[in-house]
Structure formats: structure tokens, C-alpha cells
């Protein structure tokens, strides 16, 4: 299995766009997040298992359009009985999989099939509004949503309000195109690729 990151050939470190004479807080930071364990948990429709009993790295499963998180792990709601987990604890799935009965859950490791772009800065919402039809201003940290960004299917994870930070997740195969769309939207404001 390759460890080459999805944006290896396109994500260049440096300052781009109109960054001159701008106060540091108004310069967006764009980074690629990789090396995380990512897996999807689907509870079958005929399952009556009570998921509120499950704790994954100490976290309960979030309700609709929400996420739960700690310093290592984030769990996102991505549909009814459907969650996306990403964690820097790379053996988390191995350690916790005994909580999930095969008759109730399907768990799929998709660590190598996602691109994650992290945006940070006061103008994050403006960048998102350029390509995403969601009511971005109404979303806060702890929210997550599946949507589109300039026609590409994405999941947006709202991580923090101060500083404003979001992660945009897309399919790995759309990663370069998504990166181009996001950085193109950032150019107007100036961004620091880190």
C-alpha cells in the first residue's frame, strides 16, 4: 500500500495570492492532512443494536449533522446510521472492533481513499461560500455536513471557531481537482500553504 499523499504532486508550500500588507489573521492557511486512520461505520437497517452504548476512543456517536471529537479522534455523522471516523491512533480499529458485531455493523477502512484539506483563518467561510451551496454562516464547530464544492462531493468538518478551522474531505481521486478549486478560491484573499 502506498504512503504517497493524495496531494503529493500539487500541494506546494509557500505564500500565494495577495498576501502583501495583510495582517496575519487574514491570511488563510491551507494544509493537507494525511496519515490518519479513516474508517466508515454503517449500522444495518435491520439492526436494533443501541449505538449509545458504544464508546470509540472514549467518544460516543454523534447525532445528525454533528461530530464528536477529542485530541486524537473525530467521529462525523454522514447519514442515518452511518459514521465516519478519523483518528491519529492508527490501531484504533484493531483495538475497538470487538464492540461491533458483524451482524449489526459493516466497517470499512478507507484510510487511503480520502483527501483532507484543512483551512484555517478568518476568511474560511468566504472560501467555502464560493463553491458550496450550504448556509455556511449558520454552521459552527461540532457541525459537519456532506455537500458539494464546485461540483465535487465533499464532507465539511467544522473543527473550531477561534481560530476558524475546517477540514474538507473528498475522494482521493478528486483530490487534485478539489485542491485546485479550493486554492483558486483562496487566491483572492492570499493563502499560506503549509
Amino acid at each position: 500500500m502506498t504512503n504517497t499523499s493524495p496531494l503529493n504532486f500539487v500541494h506546494k508550500v509557500g505564500k500565494f495570492g495577495d498576501t502583501n500588507k495583510k495582517i496575519q489573521n487574514n491570511i488563510l492557511k491551507v494544509s493537507e492532512i494525511n496519515g490518519l486512520l479513516i474508517f466508515q461505520i454503517l449500522q444495518y437497517k435491520n439492526s436494533s443494536f443501541d449505538v449509545s452504548k458504544i464508546r470509540l476512543d472514549g467518544l460516543s456517536f454523534p447525532s445528525s449533522l454533528k461530530s464528536t471529537s477529542n485530541s486524537n479522534t473525530r467521529i462525523l455523522w454522514i447519514g442515518p446510521n452511518n459514521w465516519l471516523v478519523f483518528s491519529s491512533v492508527l490501531d484504533l480499529l484493531e483495538k475497538e472492533k470487538n464492540q461491533f458485531n458483524e451482524a449489526d455493523f459493516a466497517i470499512t477502512d478507507i484510510s487511503h481513499s480520502r483527501t483532507i484539506i484543512e483551512l484555517e483563518g478568518n476568511l474560511v467561510n468566504e472560501v467555502l461560500k464560493k463553491g458550496c451551496p450550504l448556509d455556511i454562516s449558520s454552521l459552527k464547530d461540532g457541525d459537519c455536513a456532506n455537500s458539494v464544492y464546485k461540483g465535487i462531493n465533499i464532507t465539511i468538518d467544522f473543527i473550531s471557531e477561534s481560530p476558524k478551522k475546517v477540514r474538507i474531505l473528498g475522494l482521493r481521486s478528486y483530490g487534485e481537482s478539489l485542491h485546485h478549486s479550493v486554492t483558486d478560491a483562496c487566491l483572492e484573499f492570499g493563502y499560506d500553504a503549509i
Partner: protein
């Protein structure tokens, strides 16, 4: 542009959805004899109403769930959306 209320995610832009056709079509029961005419009707023939219409929509860029929508085909007004196992009143 339509603004559609997904029963799971709330109001979202039409950009996130895919149209799935007439929501009133029932598949013929399994293991029952069916004439070619009835099968042809099920597979191909659709009404094209001028007014209220029950449709299927797929929240393809969202929660990936199918649901029912009652929409006016003339004004595009959406009256109701429900989960697949619920009836439109």
C-alpha cells in the same frame, strides 16, 4: 434552483440532489405471473401530470438517502417531503 428539504439533513440546494422519477410506481410482486403488457407498463410508461406529483429524489451529495417529494410540476412548489417508509398525506 429548488430548495429541497431532505428528511434527514434539512433544507439543501438542488445541487446536492438527483431526481429519481415517479414515486408512485410499485414493482410487481415477486414470484407472480405478470403479462408482458404489465411489465412494459411498469418499466417504461409514466404519467406526466400537470400539477402535483409524487417523486423520488436522492440526496446523492448528502446523506445518500432516497426520499419522497410532492412537487407541483408547473410552479415547482414543494408541498411535502417524507422518508421512503412514510406516506405523503
Amino acid at each position: 434552483m429548488l430548495y429541497i428539504k431532505c428528511p434527514f439533513c434539512g433544507y439543501r440546494s438542488q445541487k446536492e440532489f438527483a431526481y429519481g422519477g415517479d414515486g408512485t410506481i410499485k414493482r410487481p410482486e415477486l414470484n407472480q405471473e405478470i403479462s408482458d403488457e404489465k411489465w412494459n407498463e411498469f418499466v417504461y410508461l409514466r404519467k406526466s401530470p400537470n400539477g402535483k406529483h409524487i417523486e423520488l429524489w436522492h440526496h446523492v451529495a448528502g446523506c445518500r438517502q432516497w426520499f419522497k417529494v410532492q412537487r407541483d410540476t408547473v410552479t415547482h412548489e414543494i408541498f411535502q417531503t417524507t422518508k421512503m417508509n412514510e406516506e405523503i398525506k
